[in-house]
């Protein structure tokens, strides 16, 4: 009973913290500039890799990874959150704080696996893909917002959570909603200095 009420109190405080940091402590940039910049990155990658969309997906993922390993420091500096005890808390921190602070959106957390080590994020308004219409050949293979997968993987890796992150569906491909799945593979152990073990 007390753990449940403290759990929902923690959720609310995460939400309030996310909104407070978004309102007061983040620098804002023009949304259309951001969308157009990301769009030009993706379309230039498609041209450079000569429409080989698997390579584009991989490159977007690795770009996102490099962003994620650094973005986590920014996130921790702004929120001073300690390490989460389980994936439920992690999912809430990602959706209510992280996405709110960096992209001003709160994806829904759903589809927890029975062991509570995998969950889905449903994104309803993706700021990266405003105004985008995929050409016919890209529609079958390109995950337009794949950079988000890389960012999440890199960021979670730096807090010792080794995860797989991938897209399940995307409205740009004609699906009903945009869904991202995160699965925990293992918790990495902290290194101990030589002499302590």
């Amino acid at each position: 009973m007390s753990s449940k009420s403290s759990g929902s109190a923690q959720l609310r405080s995460l939400k309030i913290m996310g909104e407070d940091v978004w309102k007061n402590r983040t620098e804002k940039v023009n949304a259309e500039l951001f969308t157009l910049t990301y769009g030009s990155i993706v379309s230039q990658l498609c041209i450079d890799y000569q429409r080989d969309f698997q390579k584009v997906n991989k490159q977007l993922f690795s770009m996102g990874y490099n962003i994620g390993v650094r973005l986590i420091e920014d996130f921790l500096a702004k929120t001073a959150l300690p390490r989460c005890e389980n994936m439920v808390k992690t999912s809430e921190a990602i959706s209510k704080c992280a996405f709110k602070i960096f992209l001003n959106m709160t994806p829904q957390v759903t589809n927890f696996s029975p062991e509570k080590d995998a969950f889905s994020l449903i994104i309803d308004e993706n700021p990266l893909s405003d105004f985008v219409e995929l050409p016919m050949d890209a529609m079958k293979q390109l995950w337009y917002s794949n950079i988000l997968c890389g960012v999440l993987k890199g960021a979670l890796q730096m807090v010792q959570l080794e995860c797989d992150v991938w897209f399940i569906s995307d409205v740009l491909k004609g699906d009903a909603h945009t869904e991202l799945r995160i699965k925990l593979n293992k918790v990495l152990k902290d290194e101990i200095p030589i002499g302590e073990d």
Binding site: Y38, G39, S40, S43, D130, F131, V132, E133
Partner: protein, 176 residues
């Protein structure tokens, strides 16, 4: 009253074209477009009017007074007080044996041209306000198309969504 609408680029390349037909549903008649012999002539008529449009596009308005509106057709020397897209609409620029041709210029030099046909063989009357609103809304749709990172400028617009929306705008504004 059927219309033939096209978007042309700076090298006169067509980017989009569509024919809008009227419906006479009450008597069960079919949609009436341009008569068959006129259909083939439409692109020619349109291109013939491009000279006049470009003339108007590059003409400098020498009567500009500081602070007055630069309404009507002609130059792009706009005053800051005017609503941004007011000067884009050029109105009826040409006519061809009873067909009227109206035009609209975007800021980057794309030309929206429309031929207004007439079923009654009289000279066509053009409702300026409705046509201007139509052009302005198509202009916004065109801007949204430009925002798509996969769309290169001067590419033909093949999106079905764009087509549907333009046709519904035509039904709304041009077929009263």
């Amino acid at each position: 009253m059927p219309q033939y609408f096209a978007i042309l680029g700076k090298s006169d390349n067509p980017v989009y074209e569509a024919e809008f037909t009227t419906q006479q549903g009450q008597q069960g008649q079919l949609q009436k477009g341009f008569p068959q012999h006129l259909k083939e002539l439409n692109p020619f008529i349109m291109h013939a009017s491009l000279d006049i449009i470009e003339d108007l596009q590059w003409k400098l308005n020498s009567n500009v007074q500081h602070g007055t509106n630069n309404s009507g057709f002609g130059s792009f020397l706009r005053s800051k007080n005017v609503n941004v897209t007011d000067n884009c609409y050029l109105g009826k620029v040409d006519h061809f044996y009873g067909l009227a041709i109206t035009a609209y210029l975007t800021f980057s030099g794309m030309k929206f041209v429309m031929i207004h046909g007439n079923l009654d063989k009289n000279s066509t009357q053009v409702d300026d306000n409705a046509v201007k609103s139509f052009y302005q809304e198509v202009h916004e749709l065109y801007i949204k198309t430009l925002m798509n990172p996969f769309y290169k400028i001067n590419d033909p617009i093949t999106s079905a969504a764009f087509d549907t929306r333009v046709r519904s705008l035509a039904r709304k504004y041009l077929n009263k």
